[in-house]
């Protein structure tokens, strides 16, 4: 775990210094909400439509981070520096997934209030706790699958294309569970907590892909 902390600290320091990823994700999300505001020609939205727009926007915004996750490792020798060290290679997977997870949390801290302000009809206050639970489970799926896909894409020439092409289809089940889980929360006087089955699907999805990533990540670092 010490190695995970070392890599994670380095990644967060790099992001704080360059501000290459999180601001881009935030700007993308807010711009998308503004576009939907005008494109739908409705002052407010609610329910499943609101949940779908919020989830899809966060999913697309996450692709910006997925595409950049290993760029410094690839372009500045970070892979070689790491591979030369006597450490467990899985620590790179965990650290990168943790960094992506934190980027998503920061994004949501800004994007969800912006969504509530620009598009959402019902108040975000009452269902906020339930929404946070759904989004955190979705973030784990995005972080694990995003890291796996990014590690595959970074070795290809068309990495900006490969990330979304592989990542988005893999994330469709997580998108469905997140949107269905969040839908009833975003209705006036709706539920305050998501249905257990959607949380269970998300948790199971997180677990399966975490195990899969753990099993294959070593091979992705081979020459």
């Amino acid at each position: 775990m010490r190695t995970v902390g070392t890599i994670l600290r380095k990644d967060l320091r790099l992001e704080l210094r360059t501000l290459e990823t999180v601001p881009a994700m935030v700007l993308f999300s807010v711009a998308t909400f503004v576009i939907f505001h005008f494109a739908l020609d409705r002052a407010t939205i609610a329910g499943q439509l609101a949940a779908g727009i919020l989830t899809a926007t966060l999913l697309f915004a996450s692709m910006l981070a997925v595409n950049r996750l290993f760029v410094a490792e690839r372009e500045q020798g970070g892979f070689d520096g790491f591979l030369l060290a006597p450490v467990d290679r899985t620590s790179l997977l965990i650290a990168k997934a943790a960094a992506l997870f934190l980027f998503l949390v920061v994004l949501e801290v800004i994007a969800v209030p912006a969504f509530a302000l620009l598009l959402l009809g019902p108040s975000i206050g009452p269902p906020l706790g339930g929404l946070v639970v759904v989004l955190l489970l979705a973030d784990v799926a995005l972080a694990v699958i995003g890291t796996l896909v990014s590690a595959i894409a970074i070795h290809t020439r068309a990495r900006d294309l490969i990330g979304p092409i592989i990542g988005l289809p893999l994330l469709i089940p997580a998108l469905i569970a997140t949107a269905r889980g969040a839908g009833p929360l975003l209705v006036a006087h709706g539920a305050s907590f998501p249905q257990g089955k959607w949380l269970a699907i998300l948790a199971l999805y997180d677990l399966v892909f975490a195990l899969l990533a753990y099993a294959v990540f070593d091979y992705l670092l081979e020459d």
Partner: protein, 229 residues
């Protein structure tokens, strides 16, 4: 007491990239503490050989052992014992020199006071808090030397180690990567005279194949001329 295994043992090593053979039938035995100079033209396979020794590339044929540990099977057992100084400094451009070295020290479980030791040795303490992207190529190379020797490796893999360094800086890094570092060394160089001067053994590569493996005193001008022709 068991005899010390050779630092490097290569038998019939081969590596291809697609159909192109980067290395073929390379065999050499380097005793612990010795210096192997690898000579050859651009594209002769020198850097590929170093990357294989560094466990960053897998050989596709032949046998390879470092400190008696067969590679790639036991790569994890030798990683902490070798230091690579290649064309790429392996430093993050947006981190400072000191932050980069702290990162590598943590990865290698090395104490942090060693960072100040190596920075002092290359006279980079004053600039160690500047982002690497603001440093000159020579200064970056001095930091790369610090990174490569931070964990006091027993085997140094040095790819053109004095590239971009002025004579003064070349002298500064000498105690860290020169003979006095008391490590086994593999050095590649385009300057055969300088490489021969510090080698105990010389491997000449032509098109990925060994042209000669001999002691430096046995290398003739004709052989060198053919190697670079």
């Amino acid at each position: 007491m068991e005899p010390r295994p050779p630092a490097i043992e290569l038998r019939g090593l081969a590596r291809h990239f697609g159909e192109r053979a980067a290395l073929e039938r390379v065999s050499v035995l380097v005793p612990a503490g010795a210096t192997l100079a690898v000579l050859g033209r651009n594209g002769a396979g020198k850097s590929t050989l170093l990357r294989i020794l560094a466990t960053l590339l897998r050989p596709q044929a032949g046998e390879l052992a470092i400190f008696g540990e067969p590679l790639p099977r036991r790569a994890f057992a030798v990683r902490g014992r070798l230091g690579l100084l290649g064309h790429d400094p392996l430093l993050y451009r947006d981190l400072t020199g000191r932050e980069n070295l702290r990162y590598h020290a943590d990865l290698h479980h090395t104490r942090h006071d060693r960072i100040e030791e190596v920075l002092e040795a290359v006279q980079m303490r004053d600039r160690a808090d500047d982002p690497v992207r603001t440093l000159s190529r020579g200064m970056t190379q001095r930091l790369a030397v610090c990174r490569a020797v931070l964990h006091s490796p027993e085997l140094l893999l040095l790819d053109e180690p004095r590239a971009s360094l002025d004579p003064g800086a070349g002298e500064l890094i000498e105690p860290l990567i020169g003979r006095s570092a008391k490590a086994t060394r593999v050095i590649t160089s385009h300057d055969p005279k300088a490489a021969l001067a510090e080698a105990d053994l010389v491997l000449g590569l032509r098109g990925g194949r060994p042209a000669f493996v001999t002691e430096p005193g046995n290398v003739t001008d004709v052989q060198l001329k053919e190697l670079y022709a």
